[in-house]
C-alpha cells in the first residue's frame, strides 16, 4: 500500500505536536497562534498531507456520510429527488452516497447492514421490503422517502399520492370517462394495497360502477406498463382511459397502445403520475400529475439533519406531504 503522510509527519516538519496539527486541521484555531497555524499549513502543503477520515471517524464516531437508498436508479424520478437532497446536504457538510436496491429484498437488507457497518451518520430510504422496525433497529437516524401507511415513528416525506390519484381520476371523470383502468405498480409494499383501495373508493363514493377487473398489478417500470396495457387491450370490454402508478408505467403503456395500432388519446386516454422528463417527450405528450421531486428531497434532507443533530424532539413523527399538480398534455381527451 501507499505510504501516506500522517499528522505525525506534519507535526515533525512543522516542529509542533500532532495535537496542534489536529487543531489546525479541524479549524479549532482559537487556541493556536497565527504563527503556528501558518507553519502547520505549510507543512501540510509541502507533504501533500490528506486527512484520514477513517481514523477520524473511528475516534469521533461520525462519518459525515449519509446513505440514500432507492429501489431503482434507472427511474428518472429519483435523480431529481437526489439533487434536492444533495444540495441541502452539501451545505450541511455531508456527502451523499447512493445505494441501488434493485427492488431486491436481499439487497435492501444487505445495504441496511452495510449502512451499519460503515457507520454512516444517516439514512434516507424508500423502503420496499424492509419494515419500519428493521430500519429503526439500525439505530441510525433515518427518514423515509414516501408515505408508508404502517409507519408511525420515522419521519416521512412524500407527495400526497392519494390526492394525486383522486385529482387524476376526477379529471378523467370530468372528461366523461366511465371505464377507467389502473395499472397498479406493485412491489409488496403495503402502500400498493392502500392505493388500490384509494382508487376503488373514488368510484364507490361517487356511486359510479366499480370495475375491479380493471385493476392490473404490474411491475414498477416501463415493461410493467407494456405488459399491463397488452392485457387491458385484450379485454372484450376495454377501458376508455388508463391511469398508471407512475410515468414509466404509463409510457410503456403508451408505447404498446401505439404499436398495437391504437390512437392515443382518440381511442384510449392514458395518464401517468410523477412528471418525469420523458413524459414531455412522448407523442402525444403524457398527461400526468406532477410531483415536486426536488422539494421532496430538500425536505427529507432537512428532516434528517434535524434528527442527526437531535434538533427536534424524539418520538414525535414528522410527516410532510408535498402537494401535486395536474399537468394536462396530449394523451388524454374525452371518450369516443
Amino acid at each position: 500500500m501507499v505510504n501516506r503522510p500522517t499528522i505525525i509527519d506534519v507535526a515533525k516538519i512543522a516542529g509542533v505536536s500532532k495535537t496542534t496539527v489536529s487543531r489546525v486541521i479541524n479549524d479549532d484555531v482559537r487556541k493556536v497562534s497565527d504563527e503556528t497555524v501558518k507553519r502547520v499549513r505549510q507543512a501540510i502543503e509541502e507533504l501533500g498531507y490528506q486527512h484520514n477520515s477513517i481514523a477520524s471517524s473511528l475516534r469521533t464516531d461520525r462519518t459525515n456520510i449519509i446513505m440514500l437508498m432507492i429501489p431503482d436508479i434507472t427511474n428518472p424520478f429519483w435523480p431529481e429527488v437526489a439533487r434536492g437532497i444533495q444540495d441541502r446536504m452539501d451545505e450541511a457538510g455531508y456527502s451523499v452516497v447512493f445505494a441501488n436496491l434493485d427492488w431486491n429484498h436481499a439487497r435492501e437488507q444487505d445495504f441496511l447492514k452495510i449502512a451499519m457497518q460503515t457507520r454512516v451518520d444517516g439514512i434516507l430510504i424508500n423502503p420496499i421490503h424492509v419494515s419500519e422496525k428493521q430500519i429503526i433497529t439500525t439505530q441510525i437516524p433515518s427518514v423515509v422517502l414516501g408515505i408508508r401507511p404502517g409507519f408511525n415513528t420515522l419521519d416521512m416525506v412524500g407527495s400526497d399520492s392519494p390526492a394525486a390519484m383522486r385529482e387524476a381520476l376526477a379529471y378523467l371523470v370530468r372528461l366523461g370517462h366511465e371505464r377507467i383502468a389502473l395499472l397498479l405498480g406493485s412491489s409488496e409494499t403495503g402502500s400498493s394495497h392502500s392505493r388500490k383501495n384509494n382508487f376503488l373508493n373514488f368510484f364507490a363514493e361517487r356511486d359510479l360502477p366499480v370495475q375491479s377487473e380493471f385493476v392490473v398489478n404490474v411491475r414498477f417500470d416501463n415493461h410493467g406498463g407494456e405488459e399491463g396495457m397488452t392485457q387491458l387491450l385484450q379485454m372484450p370490454e376495454k377501458p376508455t382511459a388508463v391511469i398508471a402508478s407512475n410515468d414509466l408505467i404509463a409510457l410503456g403503456a403508451l408505447q404498446v397502445a401505439n404499436s398495437m395500432g391504437y390512437q392515443v388519446p382518440k381511442d384510449i386516454s392514458i395518464m401517468g403520475i410523477d412528471d418525469i422528463y420523458a413524459a414531455s417527450l412522448s407523442i402525444p405528450a403524457l398527461s400526468t400529475v406532477r410531483k415536486d421531486k426536488y422539494q421532496i428531497g430538500k425536505i427529507a434532507a432537512n428532516y434528517l439533519i434535524q434528527r442527526m443533530t437531535a434538533a427536534v424532539e424524539q418520538g414525535k413523527q414528522q410527516i410532510s406531504k408535498v402537494p401535486c399538480q395536474l399537468v394536462v398534455r396530449g394523451s388524454t381527451t374525452r371518450p369516443a
Copy 2:
C-alpha cells in the same frame, strides 16, 4: 451516541479472546475449532454485534468501497453503466457508491479529495475537468469511463465514439443528406474537440463540402438540444439532418422541432447517440447508435478489480472500445 457492542463484548460472552472472535468474523476459520466457532457465532447473534468496518479499515487500509464518479446522474446513460459495474463489483465483494459531479469543476476536484480522505479502494470516473495527472495523484487505483485522447496511463473503457459518429454520418449520407448539422455536447473535455474534428474529417475525406457553421456547441442535456436546435432552425439555409452527441440532446432537439411545427423526419432528420430508453419512446422514435452501456460497466469493473489486486502489469495501459450499433427508427429519412 449509541453504545454498540464490540468484539471484546462478544469475546467476553463467548469466553474467548478477541483474536478468536476476529478470526471467526473474517472466516479465517481454519484454525478455530468448530466448537468455538459456534460459541462465538452465538454470542454475535445474542448481542446483535455488527462488524465495525471503520476500525477494520483503519487497521487493514482497505475499505472494500469503490467510488463511481459521473457528471450527471439524471442522464439515463449512466444508471445502465452503473448496473454493469455493480453486478461485477458485488461478486467481488465491493460496494459501489455514487458521486454526482454535476458537470462542476469544483465538485469534481472535491470528490477526488473525498475519495482520498475516505480511502476508497478504487475509482471509476468519467472525467470532465480533471486531468489524468490529478487522478493519478490520488494514488488510488482508477479506471476511466470513456476514451480520453490525452490520457496515456490509466485504463479506459468506452464505446468507439468516432466509429459511432462515422457510422451515423455514413447512414445519413447514404440517405442522400448533404447538409448535416452537429449538436456537439461540450464541456471542455479535450474530447469535444476531437469529436468535432472527427465530424469534419468525415466530409473532407469524402470530398463533401464541409460546413463548419453547422457545428453548434451545446450543453450535454436536453436543454442544450433545445437551444441548439432553435439556433439551427433559425438559419437561412437549414440543415436537412441533425446529429447530436447523445440522445438527450437529440430528444431536446426533436421536441423543439416538433413544437416549432416541423415534421420529423419529413422536414428534417434527427439522430442521437447512446440509445437510452427514452429514445424508443419519442414519436417518431429516435434513430440512434446504440452503446452497450452494461458491457462498458462490466469491463471497467473488471479492469479496476485487476488494478486493485495488482493482477495486471503496472504501467501498461489497457483500452477497451466497445463497438456500437446503428439503430434505425422513425426520426430519419431521405431529404425532401
